[in-house]
Point group: C2
Chain length 344, copies 2
Amino acid sequence: MAKEKKSQQNTILDIAEALKLSPATISRALNNHPYVREKTKTAVLDMAAQLNYRRNQMASGLRSNKTHTIGLIVPRISMFFHAEVITTIQNNLHKHGFNLIICQSNDSLTMETALTEILFSSRVDALIAACTLFTTDFGHFDKLIEDGKPVIFYDRAPMTDHGATIIKGDDFNGGYLSALHLIESGCKRIAHISGPLTSNLYQNRSAGFFKAMETNGIEVNRDWIFHQELTHDNALSAIAKLFQSGTVPDGICTDNDSSAIAVLQFTKEQGIKVPEDLKIVGYSNDPRTAIITPSITTIEQFPKLVGDTIVRVLIDLLRNKEEGISVVTPPIITPVQLIKRMST
Amino acid sequence: MAKEKKSQQNTILDIAEALKLSPATISRALNNHPYVREKTKTAVLDMAAQLNYRRNQMASGLRSNKTHTIGLIVPRISMFFHAEVITTIQNNLHKHGFNLIICQSNDSLTMETALTEILFSSRVDALIAACTLFTTDFGHFDKLIEDGKPVIFYDRAPMTDHGATIIKGDDFNGGYLSALHLIESGCKRIAHISGPLTSNLYQNRSAGFFKAMETNGIEVNRDWIFHQELTHDNALSAIAKLFQSGTVPDGICTDNDSSAIAVLQFTKEQGIKVPEDLKIVGYSNDPRTAIITPSITTIEQFPKLVGDTIVRVLIDLLRNKEEGISVVTPPIITPVQLIKRMST
DNA sequence: TTGTATGCGTTATCAA
DNA sequence: TTGATAACGCATACAA
């Protein structure tokens, strides 16, 4: 009878046995340890391949306290900006030998908290998070930070660093540029559909908007400023309200592209001419804005650059940690750019 | 001096010590084991909360050989269909107490193989995969299957089950419906832009297309059938070729929406009237098809249904495995539906 | 109902 | 350069 195997899986013990070596040597060979004879190493690698060996990540992680795995939490992977950032992060991390666990919070704080727990429980080496719009208390991330795991917030980040690194777009400038563009295009009555002020994103974009208005002496009509979840329906009701009254706007800054698209659809239904009667600016450069007629002017956020920056910073942080160096990385602001299209 | 702690993290030993209980009892309490006094259980849970304890997933997984983690590989998370499927899967799995590791292959077979290795190495309890268009050899999944881990292929799946479960859309019917719709709309000269025949998706969609043509006695012009990667640029060159010759098509079935959009853009540039001169059908019901002018007729694939089905089957498989039952799940075909819009 | 003892597969320390 | 041994944190068979 053949020898009974407890598990289907071959382990370093199986390799050791086959090669009449100790498990320690196998482990060293597999980890490219310097003190292994070249000949031994190749023999081990060959046998590993032959036995179809795969390292047990859990055993390795348990022992070494390193998982080579990074956790990522985003509100929604289907948002164009996030999808691009994630893809960039994953590709870059892969080159550095790290894996990425991607999680969606669905913009739910409860889910975000649960996911943070799970990722902590999985002992990820670091965490990258774009928070929900409603995350004002960042306490659920403290556990990781206290444990010395690098935490990077991007896009939707706390106002203070909390011991984490913050990488975000230049939202103030984005808000400023879009309002300025409308002003320079001759708009006098400018409305603004923005998101919940619980998020720094919209605080900053709105601040930029107001700055442009003020600098150029354009009066702000408080009834024309909306802070609400940036859904299609909310945008529709906002624009409907705007066009109910006697004076109607001749320009509108929306803080995401879905809202801009909703506004544009409203104008089509109502026979309002864009850009003649109303000029529209979106935010994010979602592919839909380029495809719709008329195409929509929007703010490019350079997701690939954001992703590259995140990984660069992360690798630095991990390397520093490895060497026992503790450096606080100051917040990084990534640039934005106005993309002019037919809606203005 | 206070006692030195090796690690930052509290373990069940810390809870045990604090409560003057054995680690075994703590473990049982934490796992809702029946043989624990109610009072003990609450005491343990309280202390766990107080000590900010989080289970070490790796230690737990190493011991129990279960990770409560499911791996997922998709070509691109940014594709609308996949983003929807993933979201549904993640939400459903979360309810069942499973976590999801999402990975992107970027439609690269090399990456897909590497990711499969990593997920195996992480000892996921099961794997869900939508393969690349170029995956014809599914050997890299064998390791998991041999190890008794359920593997579910969806969307892009092998022709034979290989011991895995297959869940896919009714591509034949999708191809059939779109061609039939063009025929019923009066098209006589129908072109077809499809994907690489290495993928079952396009084999089936094309077969459906041909079936509709044949059944209705419409002649197929072999020069008008394209099998190529379904990129924007490839679609542009295909449609350009179609409109070079004397006879031009009056209808076109494209096997994804990006191609349909490219075709539509070509017609706009060339002044070809849609739907009068050319009718266009896409595939997938990407949100862009609803937004573009004219909106594009396409095939709905019900991603939420697909996601629900995948999780239902997966939970069944895991439960059966738990109980030692070995059932082969036959392939499941999910329905598709034609969405009529302005492009036809 | 609780405690004791053992092992999951790997890595690290020490000794050879 | 390699081997023996212990330890990572947890879950479970067995004993009490």
